[in-house]
């Protein structure tokens, strides 16, 4: 459980300190997922061993969070890139920009002969 608490703190620290949206999604999706997984696992073990209740909803919640939180991070990052938010100044290379430019050029070249 202390692992989970430490990871939640690291999430908040990362969201405050990191320079742009993409690094913030990186911090938020990974460390907060691991933090909440550790806390929920601790709650499950507490209820199972101390009070003798085998709670299935906690297992379902753990599985669901483990699947969906990285997907949410990915979707936010993709939406941020598509809506044109620029990356931080420290970025070395940007492969998506080249790919999207190529895609737009292909679309333009395909469209002009038809019309």
């Amino acid at each position: 459980m202390s692992t989970g608490v430490i990871f939640s703190l690291v999430t908040a620290l990362g969201l405050i300190r990191l320079p742009d949206v993409y690094t913030r999604t990186h911090a938020a999706s990974k460390s907060s997922t691991l933090g909440v997984l550790c806390v929920l696992l601790a709650a499950f073990i507490h209820f199972w061993l101390i009070e003798g209740i085998f709670n299935t909803q906690l297992i379902i919640a753990i599985a669901f969070l483990f699947i969906t939180a990285p997907v949410g991070g990915h979707l936010i990052g993709r939406a941020a890139y598509m809506s044109g938010i620029s990356v931080a100044d420290e970025t070395v290379r940007d492969d998506m920009e080249v790919a999207i430019k190529n895609q737009k050029n292909e679309l333009l070249n395909n469209k002009t002969p038809e019309e």
Binding site: A12, L15, T25, S32, A42, G72, L75
Partner: protein
């Protein structure tokens, strides 16, 4: 053991406050959406700690419900940011 739970609840609430700071200050919309997603997840762990502290298992349904709602909200925001609408009315592509 109870003191340990209280201390961890206070620490998670500190992290929650940091996320609230990012939610208020964030320069772009995507920053605020990321902060909202992380706030939902950290709220889940706060509820788990609360149900450990007051020793009831009735809050555990809230955990599952809140994680599902947070995921749906995140997806809706991401789709709105990317395409400008949440539901596609006609299937033209």
């Amino acid at each position: 053991m109870m003191t340990f739970y209280w201390v961890s609840l206070i620490l998670v609430s500190l992290g929650f406050t940091g996320l609230l700071f990012r939610l208020v200050k964030g320069p772009t919309i995507a920053d605020r959406v990321v902060a909202l997603d992380a706030i939902g997840i950290s709220l889940v762990s706060i509820i788990a700690l609360l149900s450990l502290i007051i020793e009831t298992e009735f809050f555990l349904e809230v955990i599952l419900l809140l994680s599902i709602l947070s995921f749906i909200g995140t997806i809706a925001f991401a789709k709105f940011l990317e395409r400008g609408e949440i539901f596609d009315r006609n299937n033209h592509n």
